[in-house]
């Protein structure tokens, strides 16, 4: 089955055969593919862990005619998308793209595209997954991916750094990057004083606007070939790198402080930790999704218990803080991502098949939903049976915390509104979750009104 996201570049495509991902290289790209191998670029990039490694397999595994090679890339555990990344993750992906282009130039090649979707996070680091992105080129040819780099990386990064971290979510709407005229309008006027942003976003938007007003070239007219100097090529890359490096975002939000301002006493925290650890051990498995992970206290617990963890939170500042921590600790077992469970990433793109929805990207062995259900049930009015059904769709095991109405955090959610949640009780919870799951264990947290449940899907 051909991957529905793999149609833009005619030089090859991705497909699945018996659940294994392959990439077929087409005859039209044979010379570039040959050069990529022969120049030693592939080996160097794999050695530096900048490109995902692959194995060349027999041509009879090809999915269509005209194959010159078939490769089996190492599988990436969880495919994430840029609208789920924290600022620093997008920034690292941008710097990786520029580094790849720089190294490609050293080898007499170049990146033919700069799609943000070609980068994935693998064991705690960004990596290029599209090994067909390289082509032979003279260093005097302008970089065809310059525009794409600015739209896919620079514009969203600049908007987050200079306007608001939630601008990152706009990538969900603009699948091919933020249009530069739009970014230029949204950025504060002072960004015109930033040399890099002024050139690569503001002037760039103006150049596009002027070009769009030009009459189309005459039918059959030769396309004008533009040339730049090799120094100019490197200078442009250097300027993009400096511009990206100069963009900063400081995570601070009510949620970042959440872990230190919870309603838990020391005894309660210790008790909850102990119960979660036991439940993680009882659940058994290799992968865990921590929903509402905040800055990752319990994600770290799951990682310590041997799980590979995807840690979701809707708050971009918390995810940023979490990513910086796991990056600093060099912990490759945890990948923090931005996700609002009340409105998770949908399927988007052509025929709604290019980027898959959150629920179509695999199933972990266990989900953790700690201090989350009251936000969904009361903060978001989702009935408990609907929460239970969603959790049961997601994983065979769930560790769920029930935060009753008498808890200060729930009281806060109800502070300014009438209590219309008659079924929001521990019995209501047991009944709602008892349909889709079997309650394996129920443990009251010491010195707290909260209860933890270990659930197994029926």
């Amino acid at each position: 089955m051909v991957d529905p996201a793999s149609f833009r570049d005619p030089s090859g495509f991705v497909y699945r055969r018996d659940g294994v991902v392959y990439r077929q290289v087409q005859r039209s790209a044979a010379a570039d593919w040959e050069a990529f191998q022969a120049s030693g670029l592939y080996e160097r990039l794999v050695g530096a862990r900048l490109v995902v490694e692959h194995e060349e397999v027999a041509l009879d595994l090809a999915a269509a005619p005209d194959a010159v090679a078939v490769i089996r890339p190492r599988a990436i555990e969880f495919i994430s998308y840029p609208y789920e990344w924290a600022f620093s993750q997008l920034k690292e992906a941008a710097l990786l793209t520029l580094e790849l282009q720089s190294r490609a130039l050293d080898a007499g090649m170049r990146l033919k595209d700069a799609s943000v979707y070609n980068i994935q996070f693998d064991a705690g680091r960004p990596i290029l997954i599209d090994s067909l992105s390289f082509e032979e080129a003279a260093p005097t040819e302008p970089w065809p991916a310059y525009r794409q780099f600015c739209e896919h990386f620079l514009a969203p990064l600049a908007l987050i750094a200079h306007r608001d971290v939630r601008c990152g979510l706009m990538l969900r709407e603009f699948i091919d990057g933020i249009p530069l005229d739009f970014a230029a309008r949204l950025l504060p006027g002072r960004t015109r004083l930033n040399l890099g942003l002024s050139a690569h976003v503001h002037l760039h938007a103006g150049a596009q606007r002027r070009a769009s007003k030009e009459p189309p070239p005459a039918d059959g007219a030769e396309r004008r070939e533009r040339r730049i100097s090799e120094t100019g090529q490197r200078a442009l890359l250097d300027s993009l790198r400096r511009t990206v490096e100069g963009l900063r975002y400081d995570p601070s939000s009510q949620w970042v402080d959440y872990a230190t301002t919870t309603s838990y006493s020391d005894e309660g925290t210790a008790s909850k930790g102990e119960i979660v650890r036991e439940m993680l051990a009882d659940a058994g498995g290799a992968t865990a999704w921590d929903l509402g992970a905040n800055v990752g206290v319990y994600s770290a617990m799951a990682a310590d218990a041997g799980y590979r963890v995807i840690a979701f939170d809707q708050d971009a500042a918390s995810v940023e803080a979490h990513w910086r921590r796991v990056r600093g600790d060099g912990n490759p077992a945890i990948l923090p991502l931005i996700l609002d469970l009340a409105n998770p990433s949908p399927s988007i793109g052509w025929a709604l098949e290019e980027r898959r929805s959150f629920l179509e990207r695999g199933e972990p062995d266990v989900i953790l939903a700690l201090a989350l259900v009251h936000h969904l049930a009361i903060g978001n009015n989702v009935p408990l049976p609907a929460v239970a059904r969603l959790f049961a769709r997601m994983a065979p095991h769930a560790i769920v915390e029930f935060v009753p109405k008498e808890d200060p955090m729930t009281r806060r959610l109800l502070a300014a509104r009438p209590d219309i949640f008659a079924d929001y009780t521990i019995d209501g919870f047991r009944e709602a979750f008892g349909k889709a799951f079997r309650i394996e264990r129920e443990s009251r947290v010491a010195d707290s009104p909260r209860t933890l449940f270990l659930l197994q899907r029926n």
Partner: protein, 61 residues
């Protein structure tokens, strides 16, 4: 070699790129000259240290 890009490089983007490459090349050239000079001086003093890989290795951690 003709441009065979499958993505649309955009005619405005290409024109701007040519202009920027020309303008940015000048300070870049001198900066690199100075950086190379400094490397050479430092390299002479501390011959054991490798000269390569300074700025360009930014993402290769």
């Amino acid at each position: 070699m003709p441009l065979l890009a499958y993505i649309d490089p955009g005619s405005g983007s290409m024109l701007l790129q040519v202009i920027l490459a020309g303008v940015l090349a000048i300070p870049f050239f001198f900066r690199r000259l100075i950086a190379d000079g400094l490397h050479r001086i430092r390299g002479d003093r501390t011959a054991a240290k490798p000269v390569e890989g300074g700025e360009d290795a930014s993402t290769d951690r």
